[in-house]
Amino acid sequence: MSDLGFTALVIGTLVLLVLMGMHIAVALLTVAFVGMWVIRGNFDLALQMMYMSAYGGISSYIFATIPLFVLMGLLVSISNIGKDTFDVAETLLRRVAGGLGVATVAANAVFAAVTGVSIASAAVFTKVAVPEMANHGYRKAFAAGTVAGSSVLGMLVPPSLLLIVYGVLAEESIGKLFIAGLIPGVILAVGFVAMIVLLAIFAPRFVFDFDRLKELGEARRIQPVLTGKQLAGKSLPIVALVLLVLGGLYAGFFTPTEAGGMGAFGAFVIALMRRSLTPQRMWQVLRETGGVSISILILLIAALFYSRMLAMAGVPMAISDLVLDAGLGPYGFLALYVLIVLLMGMILDSTSILLVMIPIAAPIATDFGFDLIHFGIITVIAVEIGLLTPPFGISIFTVKSTLNDESVSVESIFGGVLPYVAVMLFVLALIAAFPALTLALV
């Protein structure tokens, strides 16, 4: 069979199985196993290679970051740090148009620096920010859309589980990826803020519920304002944690794994000091950490095996030749790639998209002269857009199920999040056009 025919068969089978709802890890392992068996005509070799991916491949120092950062994120989520961050932002931004929306974005951006999962941010801020915004006359759909939209910062601002997964698959330094995510994260947050302020001034009907505003009347203007001492008390833990993790990484003081360990320990100490940690709760947090970690790690094992099979079959080469022959040019390829990722984002979760795409796309991107760190940030933003688009916008579903409010439909949240998707597309184009935005600090 020709390389291209085989390539089409392997990728086609995988996509079909995944679409039809087979467990993604099982689909990857099975396709990779059969593929390798067919290529080499050697059953024992396929067995050996599978074991090597499952045992040797996963026994890597850098993978230890995953359970550690998951633990840190969960500990931070239960110790009310999210609410405190929001309270501080609310007080500081109370005079800005659309101030509560801006506060949600700002709190999310800071919170993102201590958690690596968008879903965690979405769940925490749905409980904290949406009721507060609704009380102040914001449309609930806009409030929910704001939470879902700004939660994507969790995956871009380091530490980020998606960047870890990408780094593993593309064989890039995770420390460098973390640093490269900083500027785009800030640009995205600034873009969100600008959009909220503009909407609040020029299209207030999209942001506010005017009937509710009238009801609230003057009561709305009298807001509890935190004193300086309260502000300091509420911001100290998160500032300390951000400095510990990001500062340690950026100064080259910690490896990513050490940053994860120290961050988890810092979050543990904070949770203990706030007495939000009974032994039972600690055990629950650890069990959840294990559950989340295993679901990512088993996917990684399967993807490692799959990508070895692809490399052995020469699939990236075959596709690379095809793309080069098509005369697309680097940006044509990038546009096509982003389009495919966006389409996949409609049906798959973020990690799975990376697992399926990166082993094929990373070698081609290198051939086209892209820096793989730049390419990674582009990929993560594109994948994150998928979290917000129907029909499988997982962030939207998280917000909806956490909110548990009949009057806010999934459709209306998708509507509320649209402006955020527009900003993300804009930032994506900006970063694609100016690699320096990602590479300046690296």
């Binding site: 679409l19 709802g21 099982v26 550690l68 360990g261 120290m262 970690s293 088993i298 094992i301």
Partner: protein, 180 residues
């Protein structure tokens, strides 16, 4: 696809409990890993006595954590899937969905059985050759306990997929709850 909830009423209660026990060990291991990493950083910077071998142990820990939690992860519905199409199918043709789910569980069972089969000779070899990680004389971690966990974990995954099948068949065909 969680069967942990109604497991006590079925004959696989013992298996679920064993998977939970292994997962608890893996859970505890994560905490130990965090403690070791912190101790290493503290020792290196404040007491000038780094813990040797933490990096190597951390790497091996990842494999151990995965294999300890694999069985419980499969039973507890932690395996990621794209539920979109299969939920649609489940609403229109519940029997087709059931058939697909059974086939998927069978495939999972076979692939993890192959992994178990490939892990066994590696354990035997590790035991016979006194395999170790680290640097001889400085610090040494025996290889066989980790290789044993690989065999146990892969076998647990095989059985977990096998036991999903009767759980699926017992479930009402009209039940279209999301599996993931």
């Amino acid at each position: 696809m969680s069967i942990t909830n109604n497991a006590t009423s079925s004959g696989v209660g013992w298996f679920v409990r064993f998977a939970d026990l292994l997962a608890a060990l893996g859970t505890f291991w994560i905490f130990v890993l965090m403690t070791l990493v912190v101790a290493d950083v503290a020792g290196r910077n404040f007491f000038d006595t780094p813990l040797t071998g933490v990096a190597e142990f951390a790497g091996l820990s990842v494999a151990a954590i995965v294999f300890l939690q694999l069985g419980a992860g499969i039973l507890g519905g932690r395996m990621t899937r794209a539920g979109f199409l299969i939920d649609l199918i489940g609403r229109r043709l519940p029997r087709l969905r059931l058939a697909l789910d059974v086939v998927y569980a069978l495939v999972g069972c076979v692939i993890f059985a192959l992994l178990t089969y490939s892990a066994w000779p590696e354990l035997v070899q590790s035991w016979q050759s006194d395999e170790f990680y680290g640097v001889r004389g400085l610090y040494m971690l025996p290889g066989w306990p980790f290789r044993t966990l690989a065999v146990i974990g892969a076998a647990m995954a095989t059985l977990a997929y096998l036991f999903l099948i009767p759980a699926l068949l017992r479930r009402e065909p009209a039940d279209t709850t999301r599996a993931s």
